[in-house]
């Protein structure tokens, strides 16, 4: 840690061992931080829904008959759960995949280009968040039959 010799600096809050309830509501996370935590959240979400993803793969490629079951999940639903709920789950997965892949490519770009400046961190975070949400909106509109 570097000791700064300027005594006129204002006292900033210091966060160690962040408390989820006390600190997080007032913690102003920079945009690059949002990309980072959402990278984790999206990855964990896809990890938990992996069986559902493989079920979709299974039913969509195995046979004509299973393909019909795959389509019916999103139109008729399953059991007491309506089809739109599964569309929402699919939309969450679409967002998770898009965010994860774009944030991942951002990481790879930083690795190969040594693009580790504060400015690039912020501008690429804006690109990542905008692009992932815009593509999610476009695909979501398609999923819910808006066009």
């Amino acid at each position: 840690m570097t000791e700064l010799a300027t005594p006129s600096r204002p006292q900033r809050p210091e966060f160690r061992n962040i408390n989820a309830f006390k600190d997080l509501p007032t913690y102003r996370l920079p945009l690059a931080g949002w990309v980072s935590i959402l990278h984790r959240v999206s990855g964990a979400l896809m990890f938990l829904l992996l069986p559902f993803i493989i079920w979709l793969f299974d039913t969509s490629v195995t046979s004509e008959y299973s393909f019909a079951r795959f389509s019916a999940l999103f139109s008729a639903g399953a059991g007491f759960v309506p089809g739109w709920f599964f569309k929402l789950v699919a939309l969450a997965l679409i967002w998770a995949y898009l965010h994860h892949i774009i944030a991942g490519i951002r990481h790879l770009w930083m690795d190969v280009a040594h693009a580790v400046s504060k400015e690039f961190g912020r501008s690429s975070a804006i690109v990542t968040l905008t692009l992932s949400m815009a593509l999610t909106a476009v695909l979501g509109a398609k999923l819910f039959g808006l066009y």
């Binding site: 840690m1 984790r40 990855g43 964990a44 896809m46 990890f47 992996l50 069986p51 493989i54 793969f57 299974d58 969509s60 490629v61 195995t62 046979s63 004509e64 393909f67 892949i101 991942g104 490519i105 990481h107 790879l108 690795d111």
Partner: protein, 121 residues
């Protein structure tokens, strides 16, 4: 606990994460390429995508080989990522170990299922 980060970091010894770091990036590149390969085949399909066109994408032998490699890469990639999450947030050793074992079982099971679906096509 003594300070072991920044300039005080002890840089000798094995398992400082380079292998995990590198394998996560290599598996990521493979999955990005796979995404574009699937996407290109979907986009260049003429007419609506029904069962025939969709299953046909995965029926080609080269595509099966590629998809197989991607399933393995995915499981490896997720293992590194989930292990990072458990190591960051879960402190009790018994719970962390249990969650890591659960992650391995979950991933091996899912990979087995996906591979079964793929190779019976």
């Amino acid at each position: 606990m003594s300070v072991n980060y920044g300039s005080k970091r002890i840089v000798v010894g094995a398992h400082y994460g380079l292998r995990d770091w590198l394998s996560q990036r290599i598996t990521a590149i493979l999955m990005v390429l796979f995404t574009f390969v699937v996407l290109a085949q979907v986009l260049f399909t003429r007419g609506p995508i029904g069962y025939e066109a969709w299953a046909g994408i995965f029926a080609a032998q080269w595509m099966k080989v590629l998809t197989f490699a991607v399933i393995i890469a995915l499981a490896w990639h997720v293992w590194v990522g989930m292990r990072d999450i458990w190591m960051d947030y879960i402190k009790p050793v018994w719970l962390r170990l249990s969650l890591q074992v659960f992650t391995i079982v979950w991933l091996v099971g899912c990979a087995g299922w996906a591979i079964q679906v793929l190779w019976r096509l």
